[in-house]
Amino acid sequence: MSAYLLLAVSIVSEVFATSMLKVANGFKNLLPTLAVIVGYGVSFYLLSISLKTIPIGIAYAIWAGVATALTALVGMIVYKEKFNRKKLTGFIFILSGVILLNVNGGH
């Protein structure tokens, strides 16, 4: 499987796990808690395989950037969180900064 496909699956399962964190409610709800563990497990495993071919800075930048953007979308669509222009501006700033720092080989 292509490394970028692995990275994509890793990101999706990370976003899934993060979304489940909310309903896990401090790990009080069993099923969402299991979903969190499995989701992050799959995500980190696939990320580590993709790092064999994709340079670490690039992989992390894509991973952190896309995951943050997708999580914001999940918040907006699934959890009906409100968005306005100011909030969006803040997100774009954070996203750009996270990508810039991680390209540098951060996290």
């Binding site: 909310k22 009906k80 409100k82 100011k86 900064g97 996270v98 540098n104």
Partner: protein
């Protein structure tokens, strides 16, 4: 306010765990390996707790931002990594973004309808 404190604890323990990850040398050093497992467990626990009151989109963006900024700063302070122009621009953009987000006054709504799933 509680949500913000939980989020802060989550960010700090995440950075601690990431630092231990670096020291664990691929899980070959025992104590850093234990430290990173412990650190990530606490971090995700508090991240989950803060989501009771904070919107997911906002909490996750600030979590990612805080973790990235602190890790970058630690890299400079602890590991002697260079402060590049690109890195400085990235840091400033993140800080600016967090300030803008926090000025929207929607940070803590106190009501999370979807969290009632049991």
């Amino acid at each position: 306010m509680k949500g913000v404190i939980y989020l802060t604890i989550s960010i700090i323990t995440e950075v601690f765990a990431t630092t231990m990850l670096k020291l664990s040398e691929g899980f070959t050093n025992l104590y850093p390996t234990l430290g990173l497992m412990f650190g990530y467990a606490i971090s995700f626990y508090f991240l989950s707790l803060c989501l009771r009151t904070l919107p997911l989109s906002l909490a996750y963006a600030i979590w990612a931002a805080g973790g990235t900024v602190l890790t970058a700063l630690l890299g400079v302070v602890l590991w002697g990594e260079a402060v590049t122009t690109l890195k400085s621009i990235g840091l400033l953009m993140i800080i600016g973004g967090v300030i803008i987000l926090n000025s929207t006054k929607e940070v803590e709504t106190g009501r999370v309808p979807s969290a009632k799933v049991s």
